[in-house]
Amino acid sequence: MSALAHYLEGDGLATTLVALVREHALAMRPPRALWVPFELGRPFGAPGNAAQQARVLRAALALLDRPGPGPLLEDFADADASPADDPDWRFAAALDADDVIAEARVLEELWRVASGQRGFTTVGISGFSPRAAVEFIARYFDDEPMPNPAGMARVSRARYAIDDIKAAYLETAALLGGHPSSRQLLDWFWETTRAGALLRDFNERAYRSEDRNLRLISGSLVPAERSIRFRGR
């Protein structure tokens, strides 16, 4: 993003960057950058915390009022930067099922109700429903795999099906109540659900596959830190 700031500023636009990795901003010297102390993936802070998001945005825009030349790099201080775990949080429904397809069926019903009440979902990049996405992955290496709809290569469909599975489970878990941290949500998904186990297994098979394209997507399925931890077990 610092490079994009250089390019756009050079074109005559005034830019201000919200920087997550301080060392990168220092090295690349964008015209204006506000370093924020949030986890990767959350440049404007916590979901649902409109006041915090507004504070970050105002602070980034305030750099535009400073005289140049750049680079202008400022730290954003926020006492609310690292939301703690919710000690009372549990996945607020029963997902008990004998196999991953049955689990996905239960999850999909919970997801439909929860996302319907909220009014939107971030699931949908693969074109599958959550249950169909799970079935596509569960049968991927079978002699008779689930047919791949037209319009996307099979291996790409697998990657996006996995994105949708994760989105459906994690979105539902957050919508069912409480204030779980990202770590709590991910621990729940990867450590306790049958879908998490399915994706871990798929990732290992992709990683060791003779299919180059499968090996390529294996870096985009399971967080690297967890993938290594799982392999060490």
Binding site: M1, A3, L4, A5, H6, Y7, L8, E9, G10, D11, G12, L13, A14, T15, L17, V18, A19, L20, V21, R22, E23, A27, M28, E39, L40, G41, P43, F44, G45, A46, P47, G48, Q53, A54, L57, L61, L64, D65, G68, G70, S82, G119, F120, T122, G124, I125, Y160, K166, A167, L170, E171, A174, L175, S182, G219, S220, P223, A224, E225, I228
Partner: protein
């Protein structure tokens, strides 16, 4: 806290070892006064509109995200699994604070929010983005946008 020594391995080594482009000089465009700022947001989250082709790992293109797009019609196609997506799944403003920007415009703190926001694929080599970035820069100026807030993930 995202200091490199706080990022878990192996991602820490990946981030630390990224081949970052070096810039001899930092360009500087004086900003318009707040009341004359027309502000667009630019995300590196690989955001796309529902139904669009996802941005690929080395994609140098960008996507246009009209400001009035329904929240559920903006999806994340970023290739990396090594940043949090649970925030985005709950609230788009975590990565693209378009509601906060609109509120600033309504309060008169900026002149206007742009009608369209934009997203690149953050996993692409920054040097490969130059041509498309300049194309976008020209487009923004033609639309009367003079200010851009950039946000990585």
């Amino acid at each position: 806290m995202v200091l490199l020594n706080e990022v878990p391995e192996p991602e820490r080594t990946v981030i630390a070892g990224l081949d970052l482009p070096r810039f001899e000089k930092t360009p500087f465009t004086p900003a318009a006064v707040p009341a004359r700022r027309r502000v667009a947001l630019l995300s590196s989250a690989g955001l796309i509109l529902r139904g669009e082709r996802p941005l690929l790992a080395r994609d140098a293109g960008y996507r246009e995200l009209p400001a009035d797009t329904a929240e559920g019609d903006i999806l994340c196609s970023h290739v990396s699994t090594n940043f949090d997506r649970t925030g985005f799944q709950q609230d788009l403003n975590v990565v693209l604070p378009r509601d906060r920007l609109r509120e600033l415009a309504e309060a008169g703190d900026i002149g206007a929010a742009a009608d369209t926001h934009y997203a690149f694929m953050g996993a692409t080599d920054p040097a490969a983005l130059a041509d498309k970035a300049h194309e976008l820069g020209g487009k923004l100026l033609a639309l009367g946008v003079n200010t851009v807030v950039l946000a990585p993930v």
